[in-house]
């Protein structure tokens, strides 16, 4: 991949709303080239989507809980962990699934409206799957940082004085 494409991906990963005109100036290419580059990266599935990082805890009246679940499974001959992973990641309440090294196999991130809802998902859907051996559910109490963004950072003012030599 070209150096400029990597730079573009890094810029968009940090700020998906950066407009093409600004990007073109930053990377010293034309806006048309930026558009084409983005289209190409989308087609190649290097860019899968664009989303906002929302701090739901600051949204009035919003209620929701999130949990990380350690899942131990029995891998299936021929398809390894992939098949069981796909059984799990298709549930809409599942936000992320990773295959892990270490003492368990899959790390599953789940979101729901209440603890009850998440618990029900784990006991009724997840742990009843054939190949799932055990689950350990950790509820998230507070998000400090997500995808490189620090939540709740009240004091991000420029601390420099106005004009310096």
């Amino acid at each position: 991949m070209e150096q400029k494409e990597i730079e573009l991906l890094k810029l968009l990963e940090k700020n998906g709303r950066l407009d093409n005109d600004t990007i073109s100036k930053m990377l010293d290419i034309t806006p048309v080239e930026v558009e084409e580059m983005i289209k190409k990266l989308e087609q190649e599935h290097a860019i899968l989507g664009y989303s906002a990082l929302v701090d739901w805890s600051s949204v009035y009246e919003y209620e929701g809980v999130a949990a990380l679940i350690d899942v131990k499974v029995t891998p299936v001959r021929g398809v390894g962990f992939d098949k069981i992973a796909s059984r799990i990641y298709r549930f809409p309440e599942v936000k992320a699934v990773y295959l892990m090294s270490g003492s368990y196999d899959l790390s599953v991130s789940v979101e729901g409206k209440t603890m009850m809802e998440v618990s029900r998902f784990v006991s009724e859907k997840l742990s009843t799957l054939d190949t799932v051996l055990s689950t350990t559910t950790h509820f998230i109490l507070k998000k400090y940082k997500h995808d490189g963004i620090i939540f709740d950072e009240g004091d991000d003012d420029d601390k420099r004085i106005m004009v310096t030599p």
Partner: protein, 389 residues
């Protein structure tokens, strides 16, 4: 009027032109400042954390006068790897309170009363006054826009008199961003050799060169014995407030500098030295990341300025652009003042960096792209409304 207690040579010292803009800008709201000569990044966390740790461990006493030997060893390694110049950590490296103190102590070490020191303008505002305070006489040579603000050997040669002792060179340059190539430095070296000058090479922005690595003047053949390299951690590692720099040079000069440093400063702050140690050992990735970001902003700002009719060459380094504002018919000072009043954007008028800076302004792009975008919109509107062409 009562008698003044000020020393004669201090009375004559001119206040920095930057000060005035600071006073003006700091009284206004909603100002976007492109007048800041320092990174917008906070120091990399691993550096801050290492300094915390050193404090927790009780490293709160003085260090050796020249700085922690461990740190000097790292500096030596770093200079060797980055610029292919080797200095002995035992007696050729001095850790200072910022590159600013390094400049001051270097000048006091080599300047006799009345010696002339050539200064290439436009330049950092402190050189001239520091030379005067050391008892020397600053002699200006003007690098011009026609030559992309690069000084030529002929210009230097024409300023040399029997009293010339030294020359101060800064590449990559504050305020113009100009970077002197190895060939250009080699040409200057011929003049230095011929007239047996000392070179004070301010290399504080050496890490921030965008078209290939910057060349250290000390790495030019035969120049190590003539050169005092002045550098530090402020710009490359985003550590301005830590006040930590260093100087390297021939043993005799460095030993004399260390003597002055010992009597006046004792040693650079210990906790900052521990931070710097971590910066050199594990700070490379952070530097690279910041550099990429500066480079993108440089491209953005240069394009935006040229589009609005403020002609601006693409500078090779540092984090400044130095566009011409001559098309507006204003002087640098008028432009900067009106821009601040009408559009709330602070820039530094070029003339404060020397006569040849007149007709230009310095914009620092060490500011978020969002802020830069807004600043460029404001400047563009200002130029449209004020253009006399």
């Amino acid at each position: 009027m009562s008698k003044s207690y000020l020393a004669e040579h201090v009375k004559g010292l001119q206040p920095s032109g930057i000060r005035k803009f600071f006073d003006l800008a700091s009284k206004m709201d909603n100002v976007i400042s492109l007048g800041v000569g320092e990174p917008d990044f906070v120091t990399p966390w691993n550096v801050i954390e290492a300094s915390y740790h050193s404090l927790e461990q009780g490293y709160t006493a003085y260090t050796a006068n020249a700085g922690l030997l461990e740190l000097r060893e790292e500096i030596s390694k770093y200079l060797e790897e980055t610029f292919s110049v080797s200095y002995n950590p035992e007696d050729q490296i001095l850790v200072t309170v910022g590159a600013s103190q390094a400049i001051d102590v270097a000048l006091r070490t080599i300047v006799n009363r009345g010696d002339e020191v050539i200064v290439v303008e436009p330049c950092f505002v402190s050189y001239g006054p520091a030379i005067e305070l050391a008892g020397g006489v600053p002699v200006s040579v003007s690098a011009t826009a026609e030559n992309e603000f690069k000084v030529t050997p002929q210009q230097i040669e024409s300023a040399i008199t029997p009293k010339t002792k030294a020359i101060v060179i800064c590449s990559p340059n504050n305020p113009t961003g100009a970077v002197l190539s190895k060939e250009e430095l080699t040409a200057i070296a011929t003049v230095v050799e011929k007239h047996d000058l000392v070179v004070l090479s301010d290399e504080i922005y050496a890490e921030l060169a965008y078209d290939g690595p910057a060349t250290s003047f000390a790495s030019i053949e035969g120049m190590k014995e003539h050169t005092i390299v002045l550098s530090g951690f402020s710009k490359s590692f985003a550590m301005t407030g830590w006040r930590l720099g260093f100087a390297t040079g021939p043993t005799e000069i460095m030993q004399a500098m260390t003597k002055i440093h010992q009597y006046t400063i004792m040693c650079a702050p210990t906790m900052a030295q521990h931070g710097a140690l971590e910066a050199l050992r594990n700070g490379n990735d952070s530097v690279r990341e910041m550099k990429t970001s500066y480079q993108q902003r440089r491209n953005f700002v240069v394009k935006a300025l040229n589009e609005m009719g403020l002609s601006c060459h693409l500078p090779g380094g540092a984090f400044y652009v130095f566009p011409s504002i001559k098309a507006t018919g204003y002087s640098s000072e008028e432009f900067a003042q009106k821009l601040l009043e009408e559009e709330r954007v602070a820039v530094v008028p070029g003339h404060v960096f020397g006569e040849s800076g007149e007709g230009y302004i310095r914009c620092s792009y060490a500011t978020s792209i969002k802020q830069l975008d807004e600043a460029m919109k404001r400047i563009s509107r200002f130029v449209k409304q004020n253009s006399k062409v």
